[in-house]
């Protein structure tokens, strides 16, 4: 109970942290005018694909929670591993994207757009990484057989964090990748 409350509070606090980064990004990319040259360098399709993978990791985690409640140890382990794999693939995708951008000389010091882009996505990636580390520990515990008390709040607490990380990405993806295209296409 207490753990879950704490995680909720921390997640609330983190939300504001990401809002600050997001506002900085919005400020530099949308004010006074959108910079389509740089946004067009972002690969909407491949990032979209990785986004789908990350968001589906929320689904796999939810399945893991269900298995946990039902005491199905085997499924629990499988779903957890699935979640971690999806998370790793997402990070891998982010790495690929960064590499492409670096090759085009779009580094963090190239301009305000890249500075705020790398900061925002980088901090999100960092959160994914932290989530993966926590999930690995959870998997380790699951294999040790320590996750057998259905009243334990460990998994639900980790879940709050993991769903939060996914939700943040959904917003980041909309604002960084999708919205510019929508705005550029509209007559505005």
């Amino acid at each position: 109970m207490a753990q879950k409350t704490l995680i909720k509070l921390i997640v609330g606090s983190e939300t504001i942290f990401f809002l600050a980064l997001l506002m900085a990004f919005v400020y530099f990319s949308y004010v006074p005018t959108l910079n389509p040259r740089l946004v067009s360098r972002l690969d909407l399709t491949s990032t979209g694909l990785f986004t789908v993978l990350l968001l589906s990791s929320s689904f796999t985690f939810w399945r893991a929670e269900v298995s946990f409640r039902r005491g199905q140890t085997k499924q629990l382990r499988l779903w957890l591993i699935g979640t971690v794999v999806l998370g790793i693939v997402f990070l891998f995708g982010q790495g690929l994207e960064y590499r492409t951008l670096f090759r085009e000389q779009l580094t963090i010091s190239q301009g305000t757009f890249t500075t705020s882009f790398f900061t925002l996505t980088g901090f999100h990636g960092l959160h994914v990484l932290i989530g993966l580390i926590i999930l690995s520990i959870v998997i380790y515990l699951a294999f040790l057989g320590d996750l057998d008390d259905p009243d334990s709040v460990l998994l639900p607490s980790v879940g709050i964090y993991w769903h939060f990380v996914d939700a943040v990405w959904a917003v980041v993806f909309m604002v960084v990748y999708v919205l510019p295209h929508v705005l550029a296409d509209s007559t505005l």
């Binding site: 506002m23 919005v26 949308y30 004010v31 005018t33 505005l188």
Partner: protein, 285 residues
């Protein structure tokens, strides 16, 4: 009185909405006056004012701030008044519905939160925002007004949906806090948090509008004077587009937030001084 005060518009759609809401109350209350009828009535009167008064004409034709005031009144004042005014002893058919709604919102209050915030954000996407205004090409406000016929079916639909959706969203937002089943209401301190987070969501939108590039939200047709309204506006009205947009953003940001805050405080004060809870007086030995 300023000449602009003469610009009242009556449209059949809004009249129908008002009538429907009134009838709804009647049928729910079993055609008897129940406690809270005054609040419900006040909500209806305010709704009528937003839809019919010069504010409406200003909002649709030349002033984003007026538009914003309308939004805030519908979402944050009219809707809570309607919810507060719902009959405490609803009759037959409505009782089960009210029970169901209350139970639903008490298990998933975040849906009310999302409805309120989501609708507010939705109507401020530049595209949808523009659709809810008067249209320059036709030169009239596209509603089934008494003043003229409608020309554009889609535009009319949006104009119908716009106020209804705001009031509905506001009702969903207010229900978990002020719903007619006190036992199903949210715990007041959670309510404070509910309102505070909503205030942040609203402030963000307000900030975006305030600092958005001038013109993003200003699709009014310059110089287009509906009903020769511009000529009767006081000097300095409407404000410069950039200033008007800023003002609208700030209206949502600051006074908007103050409405949430007032709600939070009154929620708190009512709760702490409310004697309904059991076990407050010690057994005296």
């Amino acid at each position: 009185m300023m000449p602009v005060m003469h610009y009242w518009t009556f449209d059949l759609a809004s009249l129908a909405i008002l009538l429907a809401l009134g009838l709804l109350y009647g049928s729910m209350a079993g055609w008897r006056r129940q406690r809270g009828a005054g609040l419900y009535g006040a909500g209806l009167v305010l709704l009528a004012l937003v839809q019919f008064s010069p504010l409406h004409t200003l909002a649709l034709t030349c002033s984003m701030s007026a538009h914003m005031i309308g939004h805030m009144l519908l979402l944050l004042v009219v809707a809570p008044l309607l919810v507060l005014g719902l009959p405490r002893r609803p009759t037959g058919w409505s009782a089960t519905h009210i029970d169901r709604l209350s139970a639903f919102f008490s298990t998933a209050p975040w849906i009310g939160w999302l409805m309120g915030l989501g609708t507010m954000w939705f109507w401020h996407i530049p595209g949808t925002y523009r659709a809810s205004l008067a249209h320059g090409d036709t030169g009239i406000i596209p509603l089934c007004t008494l003043a003229g016929p409608s020309t554009d079916w889609a535009a009319n639909l949006i104009h119908l949906v716009h106020p209804i959706s705001l009031v509905m969203a506001g009702v969903c937002f207010a229900w978990p806090l002020l719903g007619p089943r006190p036992s199903q209401r949210m715990f007041p301190l959670t309510g404070v948090l509910y309102l505070f987070t909503a205030c942040i969501g609203c402030s963000l939108l307000g900030m975006l509008i305030t600092f958005a590039p001038a013109g993003s939200y200003y699709p009014y047709v310059p110089g287009q004077s509906y009903y020769a309204m511009l000529s009767v506006l006081p000097a300095g009205w409407p404000a410069e587009p950039a200033v008007d947009q800023q003002m609208a953003g700030l209206l949502m940001w600051v006074p908007g937030c103050l409405i949430y805050l007032t709600g939070a405080i009154s929620l708190f004060i009512h709760w702490i001084t409310d004697d309904d809870e059991a076990g407050q007086i010690a057994p005296v030995h």
